[in-house]
Amino acid sequence: MAPILEINNLFKNYGSVEILKDINISIEKGDFLVLVGPSGCGKSTLLNCIAGLEPITSGQMNIGGDDMTFVSPKDRDIAMVFQSYALYPTMTVAKNITFGMKVRGVEQDVQDRKLAEVAKQLQMENLLNRKPGQLSGGQRQRVAMGRALVRDPKLFLFDEPLSNLDAKLRVEMRTEIKALHQRLGASMVYVTHDQIEAMTLATKIVVMKGGVIQQMGTPAEIYNTPANLFVADFMGSPAMNLVPAKTSKGADGTHVEIARNGGEPIVLTDAKNRDLPEDVIVGVRPEDIADADARGGEAAQVAECTIDIVEPAGADTYAVMQLGGKHVTARLHAETNAAAGVSQRLAFDLSKVSYFDPETGLRLN
């Protein structure tokens, strides 16, 4: 079957400024694609291009197998949820939800039935006669979702729909959107600058920076094998530890040597034989540095490190130290006895280690 959304060599300029550069994306029916990247990297612009709200400078786009490059938004069979919700202020919730159907001349009884369905689905039957001004942020968000759902489109587009909610509500709605996606089996493109949202919701993630796609893949691929230093640093919280190191080949695998403040360098052994340049940036997730005594399987190698800062976070405790001239975070057990200024035995697990070229920032393994 044809991909539900296919973007080929899309470029977008505002005047002489290139905002999007050579975007290629393809997703299948039922995919939940998340576009993630820092503010101003062109995510909203790309979403607007997909919706047809912004003309593209060059390139081509299919939705549901049909060429939609020059088709107006109303004929693309899409629905969109905006960051500001963009509810029609003078219309009641019911009118907001049915406006699209009314414009398209859908019969009244069909409108009523669909409205009732969506209202039930989103549990807002009691809000239908209110105006947007009388709703809380979460309720407005719900109405905006309802307005999209009622259309039953080929493709849903979301532009940071949760960024105006408070933290607790944001997590709740995130779960709800995920449930909705699973229930409907709908195809969605979702924009966020929040990498946790991206990881939790996506079946496929596109990481963007400066209008260029940095990496596209499943959340696991993005997390475990980031394509470059930017992705490695951007995805994951706390961020991946990225430390300059020297590598050399040994009989038992690859030796990784990391400088240590006022002491012998740490030498770790990566069991795999790799072809690496001598100078690399080595990337280790905080969860791959643990207490040597509490955790640590056979892949782990133990080294003594002096802890600078201890940050308890409830379920875990993060310990920050200096390695290779960088702050390195380890994820320790909640009941760890690590203390600031005290040396601690830590277990390093290199089975998921990443290596990057210090010059280009590209992944080496």
């Binding site: 109303k74 414009v103 105006k131």
Partner: protein, 297 residues
């Protein structure tokens, strides 16, 4: 600058502050009196007889109230050779002002909507040029406009005057609506586009309904401008189509016979009443529109 009367004294009631407040009230009262004085003189003079005006005092209350002057002003005063009062001219003004206000407000709303929400190429330039139109003195355009009206066959007609007022109102009405619509998130238009609505549908169903406060502001402004206009009225009208301002001028300047101050005053009040009325009625809606707080989604 330190003002000791504002710092609360330790002993409870702050007499300095209260005195200041009262001084403020007295001053405001004096100002109000000062501004109301002419109106007072106009009203009292208009209900005095000519005899009383001649013998009496300008600011004294009438000894005997008579509405004869009002009757004359409305339907009998001479504006030259005709003596029909301001009535026919009053209706001329109504016929000019109502379509003039309605059209310039509607077109201004549409212009503002286009400039603020459909940022086409050159939108800013066009808007700047329209703004420029606000600051062209009317005298400058009298001759070209007379020529245009002549070419269009509308010279001396009421539609011609409506046309002139609509054209010269557009700069301001566009400015008002543009500034109002520019603060509305462009995502609203985008959402409506995705919903399938087109240019006019979005304007009628979404933007116009949320514009009540700015419509009221524009209507007050335009009505005052058009109703009180004298220059265009005197330049582009002829015998049967003059607005009330021109008629008032003619009545006051008629040189035949004695000067009927009471009739002049009554005619002036009649000519000013509609604008007063618009302020009283629409002003209330204006405040209501501002405080309803339902504009922001």
């Amino acid at each position: 600058m330190a003002d000791t009367s504002f710092t609360p004294a330790g002993s409870g009631i702050n007499w300095g502050k209260i005195a200041l407040r009262w001084m403020l009230y007295v001053m405001l009262g004096l100002f109000a009196l000062f501004y109301l004085m002419p109106l007072f003189v106009m009203v009292t003079t208009s209900i005095k007889s000519l005899e009383e005006i001649r013998t009496g005092d300008l600011i004294s209350l009438p000894r005997e109230v008579t509405f004869d002057a009002w009757r004359t002003a409305w339907s009998g005063a001479c504006t030259g050779i005709q003596c029909e009062g301001v009535r026919p001219y009053f209706w001329n003004s109504v016929l000019i002002a109502i379509p003039g206000v309605a059209l310039s407000t509607l077109i201004g709303a549409m212009n503002g909507y286009v400039v603020a929400q459909w940022r086409f190429r050159g939108a800013n330039l066009i808007f700047s040029l329209m703004l420029f139109g606000c600051f062209i003195p009317f005298q400058v355009v009298l001759l070209p406009m007379a020529r245009v009206l002549g070419i269009m066959g509308m010279a001396g007609t009421i539609p011609g005057l409506i046309f002139v007022h609509v054209i010269y109102g557009l700069g301001f009405t566009t400015l008002f609506f543009r500034n109002y619509y520019v603060s509305i998130s462009p995502e609203l238009t985008k959402a409506a586009k995705v919903d399938g609505a087109g240019f006019f549908r979005i304007f009628w169903s979404i933007f116009l309904p949320l514009s009540l406060p700015i419509i009221v502001v524009t209507v007050i402004w335009q009505f005052t401008q058009i109703w009180n206009d004298f220059l265009f009225g005197v330049s582009f009208s002829q015998a049967g189509t003059q607005p009330v301002t021109v008629a008032l001028n003619n009545i006051v300047n008629s040189t035949t016979g004695v000067k009927e101050y009471n009739v002049d005053m009554a005619a002036a009040i009649i000519a000013a009443l509609p604008t007063l009325l618009v302020y009283v009625i629409a002003g209330k809606y204006f405040v209501r529109g501002l405080t309803a707080g339902s504009v922001k989604g």
